[in-house]
């Protein structure tokens, strides 16, 4: 047997096997996986020891993830309840537990408890010692709860948070709020806008002009000229810091979808071209477009060289693809998830070993996304939305 025969055989075998691999990893029942993910998250909120282990592991790396994991789970539960009203009582019970514990922790430790250490360095340029990262997501959680059923204390709390968001953003020359001192994130600003919009729907207030001003400012001042994508971070004065970022832009698109669908669709088309990748049926996302050389950071997670797969960006890409209904890309992402995220199914449900609670919560949210944003676009009050 000549070595050349062996090498040719290896080449042919590679050409046969790699294209076939996608069929091995096409999820048979994505809906069942979503249910199992939900079961796991509900188990986390009924088993303090299980949750503590998960939260401690995330907080050791990034306290934000503990906080964001709560937000995504609340949004997922609210969507599930709006889609299947019989699930509302259970959803409300878990959402209340999440929101109440979040507010308790914030009251005990301050809002920086949910932020990275550098939140304590420098001062907020708005003059308000508040972060729109924390205020925005808490307001969003409160609003999602209220979309299912009214709760008076959360109504009051949400109004106060939204007022702080509007003040914080309104004081910036570029109409952007600070997530960290003199550092705003597009992710947080668009979440804040959705929270403001949610208050309008729930309480009948009208911030449409304000939201329009902010969106116009983002488009005019914080769009990356090379890609046409919104940048990921900027100063209080509206100077861009980082370019478009995969771990951020997909959530930004998701939020824009509740506010300006055409703009969201345009940003998705650009993000898909600049940051989305597919090969042999598998899909992933990269952290930075070719025109921007940015660093690997805590949000991107480790980046696999050559193909530049970012776990953070790829996880968030599920949300972008689900938001606009890009089923081809979504299926390609699902294949990669089954192939390379190491699913573990046990008595508590499903989790991905190569992920963490916030990552799994994003995947869960992406699998049920829709009804809550539909209510925001349709308008109407809480009582219209309540099942």
């Amino acid at each position: 047997m000549r070595p050349l025969h062996g090498l040719v055989a290896l080449g042919v075998a590679t050409a046969l096997w790699l294209p076939a691999l996608q069929f091995v990893f096409t999820p048979a029942e994505p809906e069942a996986d979503a249910r199992a993910l939900a079961t796991r998250h509900l188990a986390l909120w009924s088993d303090p020891a299980l949750r503590a282990a998960e939260v401690d592991r995330m907080r050791a790396r990034n306290a934000e993830w503990d906080f964001m994991g709560r937000t995504f789970l609340v949004l997922a539960l609210a969507n599930e309840a709006l889609r299947t009203p019989s699930k509302t009582p259970d959803a409300v019970r878990v959402i209340d537990a999440i929101v109440d514990e979040t507010l308790r922790l914030e009251a005990e430790h301050g809002f920086r408890f949910f932020m990275m250490d550098y939140a304590g360095i420098g001062r907020f340029q708005s003059g308000l010692d508040r972060s729109i990262f924390v205020d925005g997501e808490i307001a969003l959680m409160m609003g999602a709860r209220r979309m299912l059923a009214e709760r008076a204390d959360l109504a009051t709390g949400m109004r106060e948070r939204v007022e702080a968001l509007v003040q914080s953003m309104g004081r910036s020359p570029a109409r952007v709020g600070e997530s960290y001192p003199d550092e705003g994130w597009m992710f947080c600003n668009t979440v804040a806008l959705v929270a403001i919009r949610m208050l309008d729907v729930l309480d009948g207030t009208d911030h449409a002009a304000f939201i329009g001003q902010v969106l116009a400012s983002l488009k005019a001042n914080l769009t990356d000229p090379a890609t046409g994508l919104l940048v990921s971070s900027f100063t209080f004065a509206g100077q861009p810091l980082d370019g478009p970022e995969g771990s951020s832009i997909w959530m930004v698109i998701h939020c824009l979808d509740a506010l300006d669908r055409d703009y969201a669709a345009d940003q998705y088309r650009r993000a898909r071209a600049e940051l989305g990748r597919t090969f042999l049926g598998f899909g992933w996302a990269i952290e930075w477009p070719a025109s921007w050389q940015g660093p690997r950071d805590v949000d991107s997670g480790p980046i696999i060289p050559v193909i530049e797969v970012s776990a953070g960006a790829s996880g968030m890409a599920f949300l972008g693809a689900a938001t606009v209904g890009d089923t081809d890309y979504l299926q390609a992402l699902h294949r990669t998830l089954d192939f390379a995220a190491f699913p573990i199914r046990d008595a508590h449900g499903l989790r991905y070993a190569a992920s963490n609670q916030v990552g799994d919560a994003v995947l869960l949210y992406a699998s049920v996304v829709g009804p809550l944003w539909d209510r925001l676009r349709a308008g109407g009050g809480a009582h219209d939305a309540a099942p």
Binding site: G6, L10, L21, R57, P302, A311, F339, A354
Partner: protein, 91 residues
């Protein structure tokens, strides 16, 4: 009559028996690390490793063997089968 394991271990790498042996070794090694529970430590891929250096290396080791078992081993086996199909010339 030569026994199969002896033939396989003595076979050249790029031969049907040699490739089949490599595929089996990869599956065996992966089965071992899987049975040891190292899948848990692949969380290193999300930037949230469990524990210190040893679990992190365990997770990386698991990832390497997993891709070996899922990607490389089937290729080796298919290549081995293809080589069996190649007509052998005498002399």
């Amino acid at each position: 009559m030569t026994r199969l394991p002896e033939r396989a271990f003595g076979a050249p790498l790029l031969s049907p028996a040699g490739l089949a042996l490599r595929a089996c070794l990869l599956w065996l090694a992966f089965g071992l690390v899987h049975a040891l529970g190292l899948r848990e430590y692949t969380t290193v891929l999300s930037g949230t490793p469990v524990g210190g250096l040893a679990p992190t290396l365990g997770g990386v080791f698991y990832v390497v063997l997993y891709f070996g078992a899922v990607v490389a081993a089937p290729i080796a086996l298919i290549a081995g089968v293809l080589l069996l199909l190649v007509p052998r010339r005498r002399g």
